[in-house]
Symmetry: C2
Subunit: 163 residues, 2 copies
């Protein structure tokens, strides 16, 4: 087996994880927890993201939405389908360009979005439970700086996955 050199205290392995690792670790867990919460509303995180995106800018086409969210248009179709069947969003054909499907929230969609806002608030409190109010602000400020530095689209996050 040759000399494998085990039995040492492991040199540079666990010398306190850096900020980047903690970021991914906590971020992943927070995303999973958020997915659990939204599942109680029968929504997946991508659906929530779509609802929010439609609410922020109603009337956009699916192509525009897809570009904004960074997802292939074919993925949006199924997403919109589910929300459409439940009466949360609706596709309105544009009379001027009948290729376009302008997306709008229904009244039920707006109501649900309000509940989502409450859930998001509770989620945020849960994540930050260990911090004081002041610490939360400094944390948020630092994170916002990082996000801006990486050109992350505000309100959109790349590729969340299943529950």
């Amino acid at each position: 087996m040759a000399s494998t050199g085990d039995d040492r205290p492991a040199p540079p392995v666990p010398p306190a994880p850096g900020a980047a690792f903690l970021l991914t670790q906590i971020g992943s867990q927070a995303a999973a927890r958020f997915a659990e919460r939204t599942a109680e509303l029968d929504l997946t995180p991508p659906q929530v993201g779509l609802l929010r995106a439609v609410a922020v800018a109603p009337g956009r086409s699916q192509q525009a939405l897809a570009r904004h969210l960074g997802t292939p248009p074919s993925r949006l179709v199924a997403l919109v389908d589910g929300l459409d069947e439940r009466g949360l969003v609706e596709r309105r054909r544009n009379p001027d360009d009948r290729r376009l499907h302008a997306l709008h929230l229904t009244e039920a969609g707006h109501d649900l979005l309000r509940r989502i806002a409450e859930v998001g608030q509770a989620h945020n409190d849960e994540v930050c439970a260990a911090l004081t109010e002041e610490e939360r602000s400094t944390l948020t400020a630092l994170l916002a700086r990082i996000a801006a530095d990486h050109d992350l689209t505000p309100g959109v996050h790349p590729g969340y996955r299943r529950l």
Copy 2:
């Protein structure tokens, strides 16, 4: 179409994202970026996690590893297979209990882990590029408090996904 109530500035929708959202957004992007970096070493993030776990505590059985990493044992098999074929880890049968496969890093595995440490360092710098040294420490401290509050196993993060 009933009254859908569009055309308003969208009330509680984008009033500055909270810390939890920024956490998942940045964490997801950081994970993807890290996956890109490790891909240059022909490694996936789960493989890196396994290498680290084996290095920290050599000689553990696959079952113990699986419990520690929070993954089904069958997932570990394929993971270990890939690393074993490349001569990075080796399965040693325990003479006392020949069911057990004690996992150890080979010399090549140790070498690669050192390169991974460098990559991780560079990745950490990239993520925190917008912050001063002092700000990085405060950020890391805050994140560590959150991680501890959520009982996250140090050095292990739940469910990372593909590239």
